[in-house]
């Protein structure tokens, strides 16, 4: 019993032959079938009822998309447990084991699975797919911009691609760390057996999956021609694609909110003995802050897109000037979501990146408490800066000053991240493995993203740069060069734990250099375009911008190639990489103390934490973890659902 993992390894855990009930028949394919079926039924009904009315097409598209989303989630099993509960019986313990993926091998990755590690892995694949879609769209844009009047894309296709590239990447970056790493790693980091709400966890994944087909359907529904910000009134009069787009966003809000609540509750209630808030790994803090911020910001987006749908489908006029509405209302609602969203994207990867920095500098994190305070301060300030996106809209010029103040103050807590990073590097023993490469690239890029952000926070300067390529280059430096590179550092760091294989660093470093150089060339090209005054989102441009565009397009091809090489490194390592030891980096956080592959309930024995996980160079007794001697009488019961009485009794 002491070191025998057998009871916890998936294949060998005995469960009843009928356990799981409906779950046994469900997977992503039944989800697709049910989604298409219900979508078709919804289309028939809507077509019969409303096609002849004034807003016929919009109503039909909206109802069809809602039908698809509900059908897909019914088919994949999202609603099984609540439906059963409504019918008067609950899931049995064996059902819970089945839903956690016991005995299903690789098939569980295609199913509604409540194991947080499966959900994390599913998210990782989804994020890669979304980045592939968004990246392909980006390449199409850059190809169009190869010459001033290229005929590669029609203006309408170009505008549609601009919008969907933007929103696809925003969705991907919001979930790129909170999906894979907060789900897979964070519960193990705090000594939990799973997330607090495993079914909601699986739901948050499958709901966001169901949001992606409507997003792609926009291309055949006329295209969203209003950019990812979909400013009204252009978006109110956009083709029916806008209805599908709105459904995507509403469904995505549900997913992120559910996942955020789950993260917060998990961190507050599921920590191991001794894992005080002061000993939380910094990535856990970052996840907590990011989740809290998403609970604040996401409802604004929900309100915005709900109003958008009612404007388009039932004839309200929130955003229609002639009937008392205003586009400024949309812009406010959108950016009340949109600025905190930047930090929802940024803070979790930064936390992951700081874990990497501490491990590979072999030093404790510098200024742990100040950094946590910095995260909290950033998120608190970030809800008060949204109107800097509206400096040039003409809305409330008298508020430009106050918003300039809050925006520039946010650079103080952001600077703390750099202090923490260089303090951690100071006198470290820098171990230059692949994850650490990306930490240095983050540092390089995010300084550039930060400094260029300061120009834009200055209203008079923004009155030149707003709406031009400088802004595009700036936020790509922060979101791609900063957040996505930090997330890549985390991916390379946790790859051995998640996949059980070591990442091929030789190919990985080739990819690194292509990505590193690609980012600089691409976005310095865009800064150049911006300095010269090229507007954003144009399919054709003045020949005076030709050279800058050549630079950006060339860099973009290199950058995309770099990501493809990195993807190849990952796939190659999955197939033929050496097996990873449990703790290849000799790191001190809890996820490295459990075996690889991680057993179902993570820990054989409940860990007791006696210090924070950054005791590098400190005497050994202050180790982060004491594993008490296993209690032979203790039944090794996975905590599959915190509302399962069997599990509750175990605590």
């Amino acid at each position: 019993m002491t070191t025998d993992l057998a009871p916890l390894l998936l294949e060998d855990t005995p469960i009843g032959p009928t356990a799981g009930g409906l779950y046994r028949r469900q997977n992503v394919y039944t989800g697709l079938a049910a989604g298409i079926f219900l979508g078709f039924v919804a289309w028939l009904v809507a077509h019969a009822l409303w096609n002849s009315s004034n807003w016929g097409t919009d109503m039909v598209v909206t109802v069809t998309m809602v039908g698809w989303v509900i059908g897909f989630n019914l088919g994949v099993g999202t609603f099984n447990a609540p439906l059963r509960w409504m019918l008067g019986h609950d899931q049995t313990y064996d059902d819970e084991l089945y839903a956690a993926g016991v005995g299903q091998g690789k098939k569980r990755y295609y199913k509604f699975c409540t194991d947080h590690k499966v959900v994390g892995t599913q998210y990782l694949v989804l994020v890669v797919v979304l980045f592939a879609i968004g990246g392909t769209l980006a390449m199409m844009m850059r190809t169009q911009l190869i010459s001033p009047h290229s005929s590669f894309l029609s203006p309408n296709s170009y505008n549609a691609i601009v919008s969907i590239h933007g929103m696809c990447m925003i969705i991907a970056t919001i979930i790129m760390v909170t999906g894979p790493f907060t789900n897979f790693v964070m519960p193990i980091m705090i000594g939990a057996k799973d997330m607090a709400f495993p079914r909601l966890n699986a739901m948050s994944f499958w709901v966001v999956v169901s949001a992606i087909p409507p997003l792609l359907a926009t291309f055949v529904l006329g295209g969203v021609d209003a950019g990812w910000t979909t400013y009204a009134p252009l978006s109110v009069q956009a083709p029916p694609a806008m209805d599908a787009f709105s459904i995507t966003m509403i469904v995505f809000v549900i997913s992120v909110t559910v996942s955020g609540v789950n993260t917060i509750v998990t961190i507050f209630t599921m920590r191991a003995k001794g894992m005080t808030l002061g000993r939380l790994p910094i990535f856990t803090w970052a996840s907590l802050v990011g989740a809290a911020l998403s609970i604040y910001a996401m409802p604004a987006l929900l309100i915005a897109f709900t109003s958008m749908i009612t404007d388009r489908v039932v004839g309200t006029s929130f955003f229609v000037a002639g009937q008392g509405g205003t586009g400024w209302l949309w812009e406010n609602a959108f950016w009340i979501f949109g600025h905190p969203e930047v930090y929802i994207i940024l803070i979790p990867p930064v936390g992951a990146m700081l874990e990497v920095a501490s491990t590979f500098a072999r030093k404790p994190l510098f200024g742990y408490k100040v950094t946590v305070a910095g995260f909290v301060a950033i998120s608190a300030l970030s809800i008060m800066v949204w109107a800097h996106h509206m400096f040039t809209t003409g809305w409330a010029p008298e508020l430009a000053g106050p918003f300039m103040v809050t925006t520039e103050i946010i650079s103080i807590p952001t600077g703390i991240i750099f202090l923490c990073l260089i303090g951690t590097l100071w006198k470290g023993r820098i171990w230059t493995r692949l994850p650490m490469y990306f930490v240095y690239l983050f540092l390089w890029n995010f300084i550039i993203g930060g400094v260029t952000g300061i120009y834009l926070s200055d209203t008079p300067a923004d009155e030149y740069f707003h709406g031009d390529m400088f802004v595009t280059a700036h936020f790509h430096y922060t979101l791609l060069g900063g957040a996505m590179i930090a997330a890549t550092a985390g991916l390379c760091y946790w790859f051995p734990k998640i996949t059980g294989k070591m990442l091929n660093e030789r190919i990985g470093k080739t990819a690194f250099w292509m990505i590193a150089v690609g980012i600089q060339v691409t976005y310095f090209g865009m800064f150049w375009e911006g300095f010269e005054g090229m507007p954003r989102r144009v399919a054709f441009y003045d020949p005076i911008f030709q050279h800058a565009n050549d630079m950006a397009t060339g860099g973009a091809y290199l950058l995309m190639l770099g990501w493809i090489v990195l993807l190849y490194a990952g796939i190659n390592s999955l197939r033929q990489g050496p097996d990873a030891p449990a703790n290849p980096w000799h790191s001190k956080t809890l996820e490295w103390k459990v075996p690889t592959p991680v057993p179902l309930a993570n820990f054989l024995v409940d860990p007791v934490v006696t210090s924070d996980p950054y005791g590098y160079g400190e005497p050994e007794p202050v180790g982060p973890l004491v594993m008490p001697a296993p209690d032979p009488d203790r039944e090794l019961v996975p905590n599959l659902s915190s509302d399962n009485p069997l599990v509750r009794g175990d605590d």
Binding site: W328, F531, G617, E618
Partner: protein, 278 residues
């Protein structure tokens, strides 16, 4: 050289070695080397700040545009030393503190420095002071631009998919090109007849959205002669790329001539005043 031992500046027998290091000349200590890197990077940053905006941005034809240029120079020069601190420490960490040799196993642990309240306080104080300077500059420039001057030329700007119309109130002149007299404050009253557009005479360094149903205001004072392009900075549909108009800053006399050639009704007193001003 054995690959088992990390190469460090200090003799390996002294694990911390600070006492030895501290006795060395400043520039052979890590702090001294970091200072050299910092100094060079700051110099590069300052040079970029001085030259890049000048070479990359268009020639600004107004006070407001010159303010944009000045802001870029000032902010870059202020940011350079701060960014250089981060870059210098990072660069030195790769030169002086990198674990060399066998990369398969982790190096020994570094010193357990968990923070330093003095460094943190200095860092926070410096960034706060810098933010105050930026704010003082930005708010001053912004409030100066918001002031309405007497004798301001009014120009009504109307955006629609996908063209700009400029009207000079009181003259009856309505054109597709924006012509402005030099050294005279001008106020653009901007609106749209369909979706939101972005009125952006880039060389004037100002920008404001054209929203349907409301009029937004932006001011500028042209101070150089020249031609420029008015572009749309807000995605406005299919031919957003083609929504631009020619613009020029001309002499006062040239402006009067142009107004008359456009059929200005010079009989009204207001128009005469408008033309005679300056």
């Amino acid at each position: 050289m054995s690959s088992d031992h990390p190469v460090v500046d200090e003799p390996p027998v002294l694990p911390q070695g600070d006492s030895i290091v501290a006795g060395r000349p400043f520039f052979s200590r890590p702090v001294g080397k970091i200072f050299i890197i910092w100094f060079l990077m700051t110099a590069v940053g300052v040079l970029i700040g001085i030259f890049a905006p000048h070479h990359l941005m268009p020639t600004f034809l107004s006070h407001e545009g010159t303010d944009v240029w000045r802001t870029m120079v000032l902010f870059t020069i202020l940011a350079a030393p701060v960014a250089a601190v981060v870059y210098a420490v990072a660069a030195y960490s790769l030169i002086g503190w990198r674990h060399r040799g066998n990369q398969d196993d982790p190096p020994e642990d570094g010193p357990p420095l968990r923070g330093n309240s003095t460094v943190t306080a200095v860092w926070l104080a410096t960034s706060s002071v810098l933010v105050l300077v930026l704010l003082a500059w930005g708010l001053t420039v912004y409030s100066a631009e918001e002031v309405s001057h007497p004798g301001t030329l009014q120009v009504d700007v109307t955006g629609q998919q996908w063209l700009w119309t400029f009207t000079y109130p009181g003259t009856g002149v309505e054109t597709r090109s924006l012509v402005l007299p030099i050294n005279r404050p001008v106020q653009f009253n901007v609106t749209s007849v369909d979706v939101t557009h972005g009125f952006w005479p880039a060389a004037l360094g100002v920008q404001v959205d054209a929203n349907p149903g409301v009029t937004t205001v932006i001011r500028a004072t042209p101070d150089k002669l020249g031609n420029f392009t008015v572009r749309c900075s807000q995605l406005c549909g299919l031919y957003h790329s083609f929504m631009y108009a020619p613009g020029s800053v001309v002499t006062s006399a040239g402006f009067s001539r142009w107004l008359r050639s456009e059929g200005a009704s010079t009989t009204t007193g207001q128009a005469t005043a408008l033309v005679k001003k300056q």
